[in-house]
């Protein structure tokens, strides 16, 4: 769904980013790589998964451009690529900021409404007297 004339063109890459992020194991792998690069064996350890199973997940992440291979030819460490993630967070963050701005306007209005209510209550009390 796109809103014509109302849309900021968004890269197709988001689709593969989100597909890659849809799996909890892959999110956990990214969480681990956020702390520093790691080999397949190091990644497999905490997940109680075989190295081939981890490699499969890594392939999906690599295809999405979220993970790349480090320079060490022996260990072949994987490292996190931040750019697609930045796009993905920006995607949701813009939407969040849109509502944040609206709700901040609402905050101001609610303060006014509270004052009006207080005045109305006082007036009613005075009328009773």
């Amino acid at each position: 769904m796109e809103l014509p004339g109302y849309t900021r063109v968004s890269p197709k890459r988001l689709d593969s980013t989100f597909a890659a992020l849809a799996d909890p194991t892959r999110r956990a792998i990214l969480g681990r790589l956020a702390k520093g690069e790691a080999s397949v064996a190091e990644l497999a350890k905490p997940f109680k998964m075989s190295q081939p199973a981890i490699s499969k997940h890594l392939k999906v992440l690599e295809r999405a451009g979220l993970v790349s291979r480090g320079l060490d030819a022996q260990r072949r460490p994987r490292k996190l690529e931040a750019a697609p993630l930045a796009e993905a967070t920006e995607w949701l963050e813009r939407y969040r900021q849109f509502w944040e701005q609206a709700y901040q306007r609402l905050d101001t209005l609610l303060e006014e409404m509270k004052k009006t209510e207080r005045k109305n209550k006082q007036n009613k009390k005075q009328e009773k007297k």
């Binding site: 909890p24 931040a82 930045a86 939407y95 969040r96 509502w99």
Partner: protein
Amino acid sequence: MSNKTTVTAEPGKQELFITREFDAPRELLFKAHTDPEIYVQWVGPHGMQMTIDKWESYEGGSYRFTHERDGHKYAFFGVNHEILAPERIIGTFEFDGLPERGHVILGKTVFEELPGGRSRLVHQSVFFSVSDRDGMIQSGMERGVNDGYEKLDDLFARLQEPNTAAA
């Protein structure tokens, strides 16, 4: 004032959640969502002129409003399914500017009472497809983007949780 808006949209799902607390009782929060004179003052993108074309704030009633900027008009409409003061509003929402009809969103907004005259809003939108949802999030949000790396910290925190279910 540290009331922060939270948006949760899990990858591959057809729903999204918006949560926000307010320093006002829920009766007022409910009123701000149902009184057109108040609603028009806060909803809608910044810098756009909003007009309410139709506002039937009762069950089975319908609504329609328009955002306008530089001669471009964007209309939204829907039907109120349930309006239960001061607890919740359930209704449909659709953008009138799409090439085809049928991309309807079902929304539920719940107003919870909190201690100390405060309240919490929990909104859930359900879409017909994942692409409908993702398109909605991408569209019309022409907000300036700050440094993306700051937000990465946030994402990493969420990534390390096994599942980011909505609170």
